[in-house]
Amino acid sequence: MSEWPGQLLVSVLALPVTGAALCLPLHRISDRVATAWTLLVTTVTCAGAFMVSVRVSHVGPFSHHLGGWLAPWGIELRADQFGALVGLAAPVFALVVFYGVRYSRHAVEAARRGPYDALLLINLGGLLGFSFTGDLFNLFVFMELFSLSAYALVAYGKQKVAAAASFRYLVMGAFSSLLVLFSIGLLYQLTGTLNMADMAYRLADGVPHRPVVLAFGALALGFMTKAAVFPLHLWLPDAHAAAPSPVSAILSGLVVKMGIVGLIRTYDIFQGAGGVDLPTFNMGLSTLGAIAIVFGAVLALIQDDIKLMLAYSTVSNIGYIAVGLGLFNESGLTGASIHIFNHAVIKAALFLALGALTFRTGYRTVSDLRGIGRRMPITVGALSVAVISVVGVPPTAGFVTKWYLAVGAVAAARPLLAATLVFSALVMLIYYLRIVNAFYFRPAVHEEVERAVDPPLDMLAPVVLLSGASLALGLIAQVPIGIALPGVMRLLGGG
């Protein structure tokens, strides 16, 4: 019998996935009971995941061998620093679910509410399982859990495009999953193991090169698609814009980040493998990231639909993370890994705040929502703070990322990259200003806007907490950095 942290780790993964099964029958009995159950499971799971992260930050990574089978024979769960960053973001998920209770009553018809709760819980379980497993195939299974649930959740969108967007997302997602599965099969044939650490160890001594490169390519490409790294982002804007706001918050905040976590795992596996030219890959990745930053920013600023704008901003922000990974030095990797967490907080705040505006007025474009700032001061205030954070103005969480990436780019002697990072954020800010201007300094054009008031507390509190966190995390950035840094050092081969 292993230690309690290991037991906690398994429970955290098993609880939401098994708990989801009860959502369907419970909803047949009573909406209220089912909602309470969903909230309970989410809260306990997120608290557990948070505790796992706290433990990682205090005593370092730890493993749990499921069923008592030691590492290469059985499945090893492993909470490392990058998983811990996702665990740290688990409370974001919980807040989104709390917010979603009223929102889904409003936006989802009764017959579809049971699956909605179930899919959310499975998504949570998938995200955590993906982040906390040390076994490559187990990682694939959990990847399918969060992917499938994400495709289906997109279909909850009100607009007619939702199903088509969901389908496109599904096709791209299934294709990338297939690449990952192919790579897993190949890697298994090459190494005879599915455990990632064992795999890395066995890849380090002479196996044929070209298949290793192929396996690397397929795995990296698969995860890059999941992460929507330019130009593999095509599925993202429609899917994230079509989904209901709480779902968009989870998709943009957490689900795309899994691709990034997957890329970090890829680095771990192929660190010492012969034939894989990581520096060239990194160069390419950072270049793609830089293009994504500019591209995402430019497309974001021509949108009138704020959700599309936020979706393109996610493309841009994934670009930031890609640049950080591609720089592959201490500052760059630190910036990239803390942005996994920071962006989750910020983007969730943005989507939830926007969702609250839509909830009250029914509108979601900049021009329709003019003058809303006076009517819903707290919501729009929170939105403004998150806007400032997402473009990286000090002293917000977004600034911390930008700072680390800029230092990383300068340290890697790539000043052009640094300039791209800094200035595209400015372009974004100027155009985000459009939103703020329209909300605060323009007269309202719709009667619904005139009549709107801040949403009730159960929706408002998550918005305010998240946007407050996106501000506070700029000042207490050492928390995520402290967690990420040992992991970054490990990736760099220093410990």
Binding site: G381, I388, V393, P394, P395, F399, V400, K402, W403, Y404, A406, V407, A409, V410, A411, P415, A418, A419, V422, F423, A425, L426, L429, I430, L433, N437, Y440, F441, R442, G474, L475, I476, A477, Q478, I481, G482, L485
Partner: protein, 493 residues
């Protein structure tokens, strides 16, 4: 070298106005609440800052670090002489400006927002003045940029929104350049960003890197300091309400830029390191050019606030010129001019605002005879204008005198010529206006009399300050004495 003393006051000072901003945001729709918190925070903050003065002049640096922003870089505050020179002025003028804006803004809408961001601006200004390292300075520099925006666009007219956009484009681009410069500094200095009087940049940096760094940092800060040709946003930002213009032009925003350049030269590079390069000379020429060119531009303006804006552009470059000469005398002039220009310019803006509120006039050509109608207001205006021309016994003289001596001392005789030319130009654009105001007949409109007390008294207080800064500026605790301490520390004397 100053003695470091652990003390919470440097952090407390910005915190006071930050808390005030929060309180005003929460309950700002009620006038009494708004007034009470704004006034008491302004006073409390001034008391806190002033209480640190004796120690600072005596060579103590109060230091306080709290949040570790990231491993190795804390958000830290440190009240040394240079920082205190700026912090004292801004916190004192906040008291005066608060009284003035309560009077000026009476009856306007969105006042909660106005006073909240006003307090936030001052909070950021004092925080950046007392910043202990380059990153903290930058963080609050950007906070200032952002929180000044709602003030610029306060009127919500399309013109104001355009001005706000211009303001943001300029200042945020400058901020981006600074950020890159700081990142580069961080890499070059191997992770050190805390200000030290020998500079952060190590002496063995290659000249090319040194040049890039210097250009990035000075030009980045130079945007807010409105160094030509980066000054375009400032005259346009004139659409803001007058107390905001006073704040923007005299105390907070533009001074933050000038202050940033001073910090860059003294505490990032260090005087010794820069002496071996051509970089400060280039900055000096640019500053001298700005002093003259902006004065010429000011001559061409009829709108009073625009003329004041160009005058500001010109005056700010005094600070840059003084610091770029790398001479103790000129450096004293630069630091003391932060205070002198602030007080003089605030006086003029207050007077201009009082005229606008009382008579509705904004153009100089319409102001004939206004001095007879509002003698006290225009008198205060006149004192400040005389100060700018460098009249002895007034604040501006102190700056010009030290600057000229510094120019001769470092073998740059042209500095004195620039000073003289600037004095003449100042006279050329203020004296005709004073003549118009006092000696031309009153226009035919009915006489209205002086501005209301809440506008008049702050203006008069500022005018008195202009005189005091000219007479007793070297008393301990007054700007000149602080500047001397700061310069002595920077030059290792």
């Amino acid at each position: 070298m100053p003695v470091e003393v652990w003390d919470i006051r440097p952090a407390l000072a910005p915190m006071v106005s930050f808390v005030c901003a929060l309180l005003v945001f929460i309950g700002g729709s009620r006038a009494g609440w708004r007034r009470f918190w704004s006034m008491s925070a302004a006073l409390l903050k001034f008391i806190i800052v002033a209480s640190m003065l004796p120690g600072t002049v005596g060579g103590v640096a109060y230091t306080f670090r709290f949040a570790e922003f990231a491993p190795g870089i804390g958000i830290g505050f440190r009240a040394d002489a240079l920082g205190m020179a700026f912090a004292t002025v801004s916190s004192l003028l906040w008291v005066v400006a608060t009284v003035y804006s309560i009077g000026y803004m009476k009856g306007e809408r969105s006042l909660g927002r106005f006073f909240g961001f006003f307090a936030l601006c001052v909070s950021a200004t004092v925080a950046l003045a007392l910043a202990e390292n380059l990153l903290t300075l930058f963080i609050f520099y950007e906070v200032l940029t952002i929180s000044a925006y709602p003030l610029v666009v306060h009127d919500e007219t399309p013109e104001a929104l355009r001005a706000g956009r211009t303001y943001f484009t300029y200042t945020l681009t400058g901020g981006g350049v600074i950020l890159l410069g700081i990142a580069m500094t961080y890499v070059v200095s191997d992770g050190v960003l805390a200000f030290g009087h020998n500079g952060i940049v190590p002496p063995d940096t290659t000249p090319a890197v040194l040049a890039i760094l210097f250009v990035m940092l000075t030009l980045g800060f130079g945007v807010k300091a409105a160094i030509m040709p980066l000054h375009g946003w400032l005259p346009r930002a004139m659409v803001a309400p007058t107390p905001v213009s006073a704040l923007l032009h005299a105390v907070a925003v533009v001074k933050a830029g000038a202050f940033g350049v001073v910090r860059t030269v003294h505490d990032v590079f260090g005087v010794e390191l820069l002496r071996q390069t051509w970089l400060p000379d280039a900055l000096a020429y640019l500053a001298a050019f700005t002093i003259i060119a902006a004065s010429v531009m000011a001559l061409l303006q009829d709108n009073l606030k625009r003329r004041l804006a160009y005058s500001t552009v010109s005056q700010l470059s005094y600070v840059l010129l003084g610091i770029a000469l790398l001479n103790p005398w000129a450096a004293v002039a630069a630091v003391v001019h932060i205070a002198n220009q602030a007080v003089q310019k605030v006086t003029m803006f207050f007077a201009a605002g009082a005229i606008q509120r009382t008579t509705g006039k904004t153009n100089i050509s319409e102001m004939s005879g206004i001095g007879r109608r509002m003698p006290a207001t225009m008198g205060a205006f006149g004192v400040a204008a005389l100060g700018f021309t460098g009249m002895p016994l007034l604040a501006g003289f102190i700056s010009k005198w030290h600057m000229s001596v510094g120019g001769f001392d470092s073998g740059m005789w042209w500095v004195a010529l620039v000073m003289a030319a600037s004095a003449l130009l100042n006279a050329a654009y203020w004296f005709p206006m004073l003549y118009l105001a006092f000696f031309k007949p009153v226009s035919e409109e009915p006489t209205l009399g002086e501005a209301r007390p809440s506008l008049l008294y702050p203006t008069l207080v500022c005018a008195v300050l202009v005189i005091l800064l000219g007479l007793v500026s070297d008393l301990p605790g007054m700007p000149l004495s602080i500047a001397r301490t700061a310069v002595a520390q920077a030059f290792g004397m």
